[in-house]
């Protein structure tokens, strides 16, 4: 059964007199990986430093294992956790000495240190580097040493602050894969701070979104990415189509929203005449040549003209005017096979279940 390892209550953190973080309630479940996402400067690192008791909150509580913070010293608490910062910050010693450092701080015996260091060097695939000088390693190797230095402590709580942000894509992917396997095997409770949504989706059992120093939403990756609670979260998690509308019909859980002249079908709880925003992820939109429209289960069909085509990594973003702007993410192959070009007529379909509604206050 899952139980909370850390409970955050009514937390408020200031740095240099400025409020940088505010969290009313956040629970970190034992064995879970919580991905904390947000743009740079949102307060993610402040959260991590607070969780490491390296920043002391203005007010609020961090309840660890059900115990209030006063029950143990900062040092005793820190020896139950491990922190990995964005840059490896390795000591100018051998890889072995780096990985052994935290164990030496804890006063462990030489034999136990050797056993544990060798085990974790091996698990991270860096046993052959044991006697190399840590400051002479490549970025990927250094980050593996950085992870080994924390994992060797077998902490109850592992805090990771964007550890892969400076790595090249292949190294980044390999390390992420390996970390995912290690975290699954060891079941170490982890808080993983990142601004990379793909990393958060890949690693997180839960996702917390921090914007402008405030925890805006926490839930499963699926719920945060498809059902954001407000427009800021929607924009951050990559929802590009956001349209103001009004509910014109509600029937058997099916909601019809009027957006200008168009009607869009959605699933969910909304009241008749309620003012809402329609949110639609670009990858949920399928584009068709108007002549080749198949019979589809998608409830929504819109026709329009292509406004803009922009590269988006391996994919392509297509902006379509219908008359509002609808954004779709498609493969390059689709663009070629459908001969899509700016100004071309195009049809877009999407399922009612892909449409998320956010109540509109104005």
């Amino acid at each position: 059964m899952t139980s909370p390892l850390l409970d955050i209550r009514d937390l408020s953190v200031t740095r240099g007199g400025k409020p940088v973080l505010r969290i009313d309630a956040l629970t970190i479940t034992r064995g879970d990986v919580l991905a904390v996402v947000g743009p740079n400067g949102a307060g993610k690192s402040s959260l991590l430093l607070t969780l490491a008791r390296l920043l002391h909150p203005e007010h609020g509580k961090l309840i660890f294992h059900g115990n209030p913070p006063q029950s143990e010293s900062d040092l005793a608490y820190r020896r139950r956790i491990a922190l990995v910062l964005q840059d490896p910050l390795l000591f100018d010693r051998s890889v072995y000495e780096n990985v052994a450092s935290g164990l030496r701080f804890r006063g462990l015996g030489k034999d136990e240190i050797r056993l544990r260091v060798e085990k974790w060097l091996d698990r991270l695939g860096i046993a052959s580097l044991a006697h190399r000088r840590a400051t002479e390693l490549s970025g990927g190797e250094a980050q593996r040493v950085n992870l080994a230095r924390a994992l060797v402590l077998e902490p109850e709580l592992l805090l990771l602050d964007e550890p892969f942000s400076a790595l090249d894509p292949p190294t980044h992917k390999r390390l992420l894969d390996d970390l995912s396997i290690l975290l699954t095997e060891t079941q170490i409770t982890t808080v993983f701070v990142t601004h990379d949504l793909d990393e958060a989706l890949f690693l997180g059992d839960g996702v917390a979104v921090i914007l402008e120093g405030e925890l805006r939403q926490k839930g499963t990756p699926e719920s945060v990415f498809t059902a954001p609670t407000d427009l800021d979260v929607a924009a951050f998690v990559g929802i590009e189509t956001v349209l103001p509308g009004r509910v014109v019909a509600v029937e058997n859980g099916q909601v019809t929203v009027g957006v200008g002249e168009e009607k869009i079908e959605a699933v969910g709880g909304a009241k008749l005449d309620q003012r809402v925003y329609i949110c639609l992820r670009p990858e949920d939109v399928t584009l068709w040549e108007p002549a080749a429209l198949p019979t589809s289960s998608a409830r929504n069909l819109l026709r329009g003209q292509i406004q803009q085509i922009l590269p988006h990594g391996a994919l392509v973003r297509v902006m379509m005017a219908c008359p509002f702007t609808l954004v779709a993410l498609v493969t390059r192959a689709s663009i070629q096979s459908m001969s899509l070009a700016v100004g071309a007529e195009v049809a877009a379909t999407f399922k009612a279940s892909a449409v998320h509604l956010i109540p509109r206050g104005d």
């Binding site: 430093l49 490491a52 390296l54 820190r78 922190l83 840059d87 010693r93 935290g102 701080f105 000088r133």
Partner: protein, 217 residues
Amino acid sequence: MIFDAEVLQITLLSLKISALATSISLLIGLPLGTLLALGKFPGRSFFLSIVNTGMGLPPVVVGLMVAMLLWRSGPLGDLKLIYTPVAIIIAQTIISAPVVTGLTAAALQSLDPRFRLQLYGLGASRLQMITSLWREARLPLLAALMAGFGSVISEVGASMMVGGNIRFQTRVLTTAIVLETGKGHFDLAIALGLLLLLITFLVNWALTWIQQRGARR
């Protein structure tokens, strides 16, 4: 001057006095420099600028201050330290302690400040954090030690003023060179000068060897 015996005695006394003064400076400068580099307290940058000014203290001014303190009629006259090796050690410590302190602070401040967070995040106590930073900054810290030793083995003003250049008691290499030059014994003065250079080189060579061994590790 009986070259072998007396020169040897002068050389050993010079080494002993300067080594002791540098060691005491290290005992003062390492913790003080660490406090100035890592501590957070009001007036920290003011104290740092005092130390940095102290790095350029003219030895004759230090000699004057120490002489006034230790003079028989001075506030510490009862200790009867004027014209003793202890007086020279006191003066040389005052000269080299700011050098060691200032360079220690600079060495620690040149480290990435997030090192401290990382060390705490790995479970280091405050003392373990500090010793780890010293270890990390070992190369510039050894340079601080070399600079501290260099500032005292070569100074003459303070040693002359508080030691008195008394034969077999407080005569060190630099004061002996001044004396022999004054007497027109240039050959002896040159020999003593070369000896001083050789000693300075040997001590720094040993420290550099330790430093570079650390750099390769």
